[in-house]
Subunit: 348 residues, 2 copies
């Protein structure tokens, strides 16, 4: 019998279709090979992107030249544009405004062949520091209401370039999905004076069956009402409302858990395409008692069809308990070994 | 400069990125060829599906045998199951219920090679009559709160079988997306005592720039805040809240406009994968003053990526005015000519 589960935060129901109960092998597809060709994100091609707004680079190297480790540039084809004011206006019964915003790209490493999880933990930590720095800077612009940080990897997850990167989009309105999460969390707080995510963490740690991995400061779980097979959430163990307010001592843990979890997903599902989305507070509200920032990782294994579009509820053929068990049982130390070997070979 | 447009009904914003301004050719992909192989929906294979719950068939033919024109069967792999009660329960802070519901498949014709729009108008009308009949029957079951009717065509739109079909899913809760639409429409009605869809139609007919096609009883428009390129809505011109309450005299018009619009989309975009979703009222509320049933057609031309998942707002690279112009200017009479020719050849 399938089970209907409600998101504890959103008015969203998911059909967990236990009888289909798909195992990892049911989702395996051909591992995409690198297509190569010219890449504007590769080192040496710094002049093919707009000028960098931030880079962590070797001392004695110049901006927009070689020598960087992490690099942030404006998107060459931005969804929103930085100049001008919003010019909000009516169009009969409709409402519109100019598409003012910012759209930046964070290039995770100079190496075309490496995804985020293949980088050393220290390097991944730098990626998150750079995201934080850009996030804080963009939040200073009073026209922006929300900074959305995400990563698309693989063509099926919407990535148009294969060189691993993340994106920041600053929007002049708070996106619908963020409003819904904030409202859901606020409602719980009003009833109970507690953060709903903190409550979720307590139950998940007690029950353990949906926990994938945990370190000193973060935990990775398969959410109770997961929309997608192998959907994984990473949350700070201690309440922090916004990504940028994460205590500096926790960034190493954050890099560790992201590497760890993404390696598990890679191993279980043969390097699937995936999306990573940072869920955080709107601009100007970094310290909410009722919201708890977190990261949602969604491997793209199924196609979203008419049912999902029309209803906003989802059919997930893999119960999150099964997904968590598979991911939890992967021996990451051996994967890291392989990873280190690869790095050595490349260094030689 | 891109434009941000708000859905007049939902709290949803869309980035209409006018500068990318994609033309139909930018979306063209290889037309998928029929894979063939065994098909449980083809005539002659009636015993390979669960027993039919409805069929329009030649007199003197037996159920579950050849001789049908339109056939409805339970889904062999249902997302929800028909037996039992809901058994709503808590799971700590979470909520769940048993996956009770119905999941039926409407096979549009015995012919594996024909999509809905390739059938004669009378045949398409039968499809809608059959949907109506099943919808009314399912709404009698008090466990069901909503009947979702949709069509996935093409692998990228989530169709797992290539023989053209539609699906009905009866759900024990009103889906999130339907609640949002109903609430948005109710809010407008409270303010103005008018149906928002009727207001939209007035403005669209007056401005004409987003109208694709119109007949006696229906109109097809590119919605103002279209999420997807070439997204098309079909609405009854006169206020009707629910699909099943459409006056019987309008069913021929409905078939005509669906054929017409889908042929235009086929022609402009080279038979793209697409979803069709009927948006109607929940069970037990067929006559709302504030809601107006309609059909949403979404060609699958772009990939939904992290930004859309994380934010619930969408980037549409083709302004709906451009999409409407392209679709409006297609000469459907020539397409219908070709269609008729094909039919004649097949009959011979």
């Amino acid at each position: 019998m399938p089970e209907l589960r409600k998101s504890p935060i959103l008015e969203r129901w998911v059909i967990i279709s236990t009888e289909r109960g798909k195992r990892p092998d049911d989702y395996k597809r051909e591992k995409p090979s690198l297509k190569g060709g010219f890449c504007p994100f590769c080192t040496g091609n710094e002049d093919k992107t707009p000028k960098e707004v931030l880079a962590y680079r070797d001392p004695h190297t110049l901006p927009n030249e070689k020598g960087w480790k992490v690099r942030v540039v404006p998107n060459k084809f931005p969804a929103l544009q930085i100049e001008g004011d919003l010019a909000k206006s009516a169009d009969g019964i409709y409402d519109k405004m100019r598409g003012v915003g910012a759209h930046e790209v964070l290039i995770e490493s100079p190496d075309h062949t490496k995804n985020l999880q293949h980088l050393p933990v220290d390097h991944i930590e730098s990626v998150f520091w750079a995201l934080r720095e850009r996030c804080i800077d963009l939040k200073k612009d009073s026209r922006f209401k929300y900074i959305l940080i995400f990563k698309n990897w693989g063509e099926d997850a919407g990535a148009s370039l294969e060189h691993s990167h993340m994106q920041l989009i600053a929007t002049p309105i708070i996106p619908k999905r963020a409003i819904e999460e904030l409202n859901g969390a606020k409602f719980h707080y009003k009833l109970k004076e507690r953060c709903i995510y903190c409550d979720i963490l307590k139950q998940e740690i007690r029950e353990a069956k949906r926990v994938i991995y945990q370190n000193d400061n973060f935990i990775a779980i398969a959410p109770y009402a997961a929309r997608f097979p192998y959907e994984t959430w990473v949350l700070p163990l201690k309440h922090v409302a916004s990504f940028e307010n994460t205590p500096s001592g926790c960034f190493h843990s954050l890099a560790d858990i992201m590497k760890n979890v993404l390696l598990r997903i890679d191993s279980a599902l043969d390097a699937p395409p995936f999306n990573v989305i940072i869920h955080s507070t709107p601009c100007g509200e970094p310290d909410l008692d009722y919201y708890h920032w977190h990261i949602e990782i969604m491997p793209k294994l199924t196609r979203v069809a008419g049912f999902e579009w029309g209803s906003g509820f989802y059919i997930n053929p893999t119960p999150p308990e099964d997904a968590a068990e598979v991911l939890r049982n992967i021996d990451v130390s051996s994967l890291e070994e392989i990873n280190r070997e690869t790095e050595k070979v490349e260094e030689n």
